[in-house]
Amino acid sequence: MLELAIKGSKRYYGWMTFLLAVIGAGFLVYLWQLDFGLGITGLSRDASWGFYIANFTFLVGVAAGGVMVVLPYYLHDYKAFGKVTILGEFLAIASVIMCITFILVDLGQPMRVFNVFLYPTPNSVLFWDTIVLQGYLLLNIIIGWNVLEAERNNVHYQRWLKPLIYLSIPWAISIHTVTAYLYCGLPGRGFWMTAILAPRFLSSAFASGPALLVLLCLIIRRVSSFDPGREQIQSLAKIVAYAICVNVFFFLCEVFVVFYSQIPEHMDHFKYLFVGLYGKGAYVPWMWASLTLMVIGIILTVNPLTRKNEGVLAVACVLIFLGTWIDKGLGMIAGGFTPNPLHHVNEYIPTLPEIMIALGVWAMGFLVLSALFKIAVGVKEEVRA
């Protein structure tokens, strides 16, 4: 089926060339980082993680979000999603590849990464995170590829895939749970130290992942003769609507606990993010923008009139994707590190080289995604014809 990825229109080639150019630029900056060290980023001994790890966290969510098309189809026999499960699985593959790359570019000594397997350390959550992420990648490659090939050959997929498919559903939950455990089990980091972190991560994942899928479905309908289907898009939109409501609800639960208890170690991070602390508040406009975007997203997706209008729905999905990205991809990590354990406010601001490397990783993910979606759509067109 790989041949489908290299046979395409001029527009397809143009898009892939553009992505390659962004990847190339990011890679060059990465070579600089490899040579100089992580000092070219905005990181410091106070904010020791930043943009890379934040994007990693967000993308684990997008990867896990793919399960929202797999679960209804395979567990509830919701037939309509049969058409789009492959899109969810391929989105998960591209997202996990971005996640792993973000971890790699964040390492100070990337050439030593295999030490994680050479000296396996079960008490480290990072060790488990590498295992669940690679497992999820493998599961989705095996399942996605074989099911699509079976569809192309007009046969039922292999029997042995069924247990793997069932396994992939809790596995999707596990990747984001373990990712939340990276943060919420650390003593002395009041912002993350909450049992609702993993559920919050999952709810934002099930909003952002399907929101991106809705957008991708709308794009596929425009650029190919394969129509993912109106019912499918509407069902996805309902999932987005529920998930974003739950996400904002979880956030408000956290806000209540933090501000009613008034414990400074938990409160100060929220203050820093939403109103600024000791005169420093680079993230204040971003965090309010994030909340506003998510609330508008709720209004547009919950209201059937706006949800059923695909143009408005597309806007809503963009808003929700951006809102959840700011929440997780900007505020979640920087907010946890500011103020630092000694209660100093040393702000973390990503630098241009850091952003360029991150863009390169995103472009790489979209390159993989475009190639995989090209294959999937190609097979669908073939089968229909």
Partner: protein, 261 residues
């Protein structure tokens, strides 16, 4: 494809596999035969303890100048670089205000001299260290023989999970090659490379040859070092006879640095 040709190819493949497996098996056999076992011998003068601990008599320090020789001694023998850019800063031992060293412990109104005085902060060599729990490669570990939280700079992959896990901000990361920024290299102690984490090691290399930690040696008796689990040790004597506090004790990490305020 010709079936006999396929058979030949299969046989070739299998033989190649067999040939490649043989040396591996040999390697295992040799290891079992020679029983090469590395041994680490203790130095004759080495100091030992069940859990090393430090008591800081904060009353003996009034200003930054009083701390300067201690910090200087530590950073000099451990090849800690001096970096201008604050984001790249590396420090093993430094000072901060009371409400920064002990956040949550500072009363709204503090004694004037406590408020003014700087307080010494360093790695607490916790008995229950969260950094060790977080490290995915065991590059940072708690030495069983004496409880020091140590680092293997050569194994560290630079993921910085330990920095997120440490509630005391004790760890620094080499954001760039530190070597050009070391004024005078001490050949007795390794320099680090870019991309690894480092922190105070309670002068494990000095204890091994019977010397007290550099900061303790330079403190004129204001810092005391000893075994927390030896009831007759000097640190226990000080803890018994003075009221001491520890940093963020409520987190359960059991810091081994005690402060007399």
């Amino acid at each position: 494809m010709d079936s006999s040709r396929r058979r030949v190819l299969q046989l070739l493949g299998l033989s190649a596999l067999g040939l490649s497996v043989k040396p591996v098996l040999n390697a295992f056999a040799e290891e079992a035969e020679q029983q090469a076992q590395a041994q680490i011998k203790r130095g004759e003068n080495a100091l030992s303890a069940q859990q090393w601990a430090m008591v800081v008599d904060t009353r003996a320090f009034e200003s930054e100048d009083d701390f300067a020789p201690l910090i200087e001694a530590c950073h000099k023998i451990h090849n800690v670089p001096v970096l201008e850019n604050k984001r790249h800063e590396i420090k093993w031992i430094w000072t901060d205000h009371f409400h920064n060293a002990f956040p949550g412990k500072a009363a709204r109104f503090l004694s004037e001299e406590v408020e003014k005085r700087p307080f010494l902060v360093l790695c607490n060599h916790c008995e229950n260290p969260p950094c060790v729990r977080a490290c995915p490669t065991k590059a940072t570990f708690k030495r069983e023989s004496d409880g020091i939280v140590l680092m293997d700079f050569h194994r560290c992959i630079g993921c910085r999970f330990c920095m997120a896990a440490c509630p005391f901000g004790a760890r620094s990361f080499n954001f760039r090659d530190p070597r050009p920024f070391i004024k005078e290299t001490n050949k007795q102690f390794p320099t680090r490379m870019k991309g690894v984490v480092e922190k105070c090691n309670f002068c494990a290399e000095r204890l091994a040859v019977g010397q007290l930690p550099a900061c303790v040696a330079a403190s004129d008796g204001a810092l005391t070092f000893g075994d927390l689990y030896d009831p007759a040790s000097e640190v226990r004597e000080l803890i018994r006879t003075n009221f001491t506090i520890r940093r963020k004790q409520t987190l359960g990490t059991e810091p081994s640095v005690y402060y007399i305020v």
